[in-house]
Homo-oligomer: 372 residues x 2
Amino acid sequence: MQTKFTDLLGVDAPLVGFNRSPGVVAEVSKAGGLGVLAATAYTPEELDAQLTWIEEQIGDRPYGVDLLVPEKVATGDPGDLVASLRAQIPAEHLEFVDKLLAKYDIPISADSADGHDEIMANFGSAGVPKLLDVAFSHRISLVANALGRPPANLVDRAKKAGVVVASLVGKPEHARRQLEAGVDLLIAQGTEAGGHTGTIATTVLTPEIVDIAGDKPVLAAGGIASGRQMAAALALGAAGVWCGSVWLSSNEDITPPAVKEKFLAASSSDTLRSPTRTGKPARQLRSAWHDEWESPGSPRPLPMPLQPMLVNSAWDRIDRAAAEGHEGAKKLESFFIGQVVGGFRQLRPAGDIAREIIDDCARRLTELAALL
Amino acid sequence: MQTKFTDLLGVDAPLVGFNRSPGVVAEVSKAGGLGVLAATAYTPEELDAQLTWIEEQIGDRPYGVDLLVPEKVATGDPGDLVASLRAQIPAEHLEFVDKLLAKYDIPISADSADGHDEIMANFGSAGVPKLLDVAFSHRISLVANALGRPPANLVDRAKKAGVVVASLVGKPEHARRQLEAGVDLLIAQGTEAGGHTGTIATTVLTPEIVDIAGDKPVLAAGGIASGRQMAAALALGAAGVWCGSVWLSSNEDITPPAVKEKFLAASSSDTLRSPTRTGKPARQLRSAWHDEWESPGSPRPLPMPLQPMLVNSAWDRIDRAAAEGHEGAKKLESFFIGQVVGGFRQLRPAGDIAREIIDDCARRLTELAALL
């Protein structure tokens, strides 16, 4: 398959595999698509090791990284920043989360909060530039940003290095702002996608963004986990697809087994957009966690980044307990996932998933021409 | 284009045009698709006249009707039924609607409530069978039902008359029940559709329903108003498309001009699923009406059919005042519409819209094959 995206990135098939596991990234690139590593949650040292490992696996095939790059970086001491943010979390919210965990009898684990605070501090100040330095010290072909417009210095740096800058958008207004900022590639993410997402469905959003993008290629994201769905995205005018959720049904993905089990049992009706994990609406598997936040008398979720600071160590405790088979934790257990979760039947090798999507898409395009 | 749907209905193109205006229905059938009249809000006499008119326009081309056919019909006196239902509307709700209309200074109009009660009585008891008698006295090719499973006597009657029975579904479970009831054609309606709709997007729902339907054809609905979107639906495995919202941008559609003006100005983010008109979640244009129902202290919407009995005459008053340019009414004004409203640019002849969708779809299928 040849599209504006395959021309721009030099890949065989217009399929991006977005995942936080280096194993998935490598397998998608090896299958002829473009693996993109979700890099935000890693330290610079971890990221460096993972990109080195990916490059060893894929030879000279291209790959990319995805970061949350704020347009403006906070200055000052990271510790002060975290302390100042922590002080903004109301007592009512802390008490609600404590009671929620107690109600489900979730065991206490001692060592989670500090790590999260470090990530939060990175997020707010010096961390992202360090991650970008690591990424640009490797032979990446694409850097994607899911957090508003990329800062001008990122765009400049990428252009000098011959790296494609991509941005996720959920509305036409977003696309216009991204193009003004100089991005090379837009990802139109429909409401059915996992993670942070808007309200406009892929069928409607994709052609809107394609019409705004002009000569720049657009990938469709949200609702794409099969060759039929990839063919549909191309029909809508996309130059390819950005798949995230489908890799959570792969063996290589590092999501905890207790979560993956729930995914395999879920239907396409079992997700919701909820701000209760990150402070912004993000699609995830519905669980007892969401029932508790929606019950009468519950506090309203806080904005980003206060809500993750409030709940991240609770989620560590839930994940750990669920991994040990704790019944209460299994009820609460959840993770970010799109509506395609309803199609998960078994865990499979990521490379098999990628090849099947690409091959089925090609077959579907041939079948479609035969309708005429 | 040839699909299982065109074979079943004997039409040139796998495009259904669903609308309450006979003019739209006739134009879609004349363009080679299948016009389907939304018949529920008409009296038997009105329906008879409209179907006669449609047949005069379209020669021997096929067309269909859409009704809300309850699986079980209430017995007893229609007047008693309406009185019993009216008594279930809480005073708090009546007062809320009165205050809402007063806040926006909406003039009182005297003659609306009775007509609505008659429709409600029809809906609950003898009206639908009378409408079905009228429909079957004409040479309809399809009868669609958007209200749960069709009753067995409707399926039997349709089979004897050689009429295709179609049902709208928003979840895989719905599709299984409809197939058990003997429907010939399923319409997978994604969350982006206008009117009553579920939460699953067209990209995800369509292939799920196609896989359940086996040999039976499936139409995709929701998010389809262009040739690109029609091609995407075919890529997802649909045998055609069921378009509703797009006709509200046609000259022939009878939606009040004040509503159509708001549609032309709307973006794809300006709709919401709300139960405040019918008692069930239905996608419609967001307006001050919804802000009022969502404001603190507002009552929860009532279930169907109490909510429409509560608000229908309020909507008559709003529509009449908005038609006369009343500022408050224009703020409240709204109607059922899908996310494709963001693409409305001007009012056009329905036949032009239909032909453009079909022609652009055919071109898109050819372009897609060239990607290989």
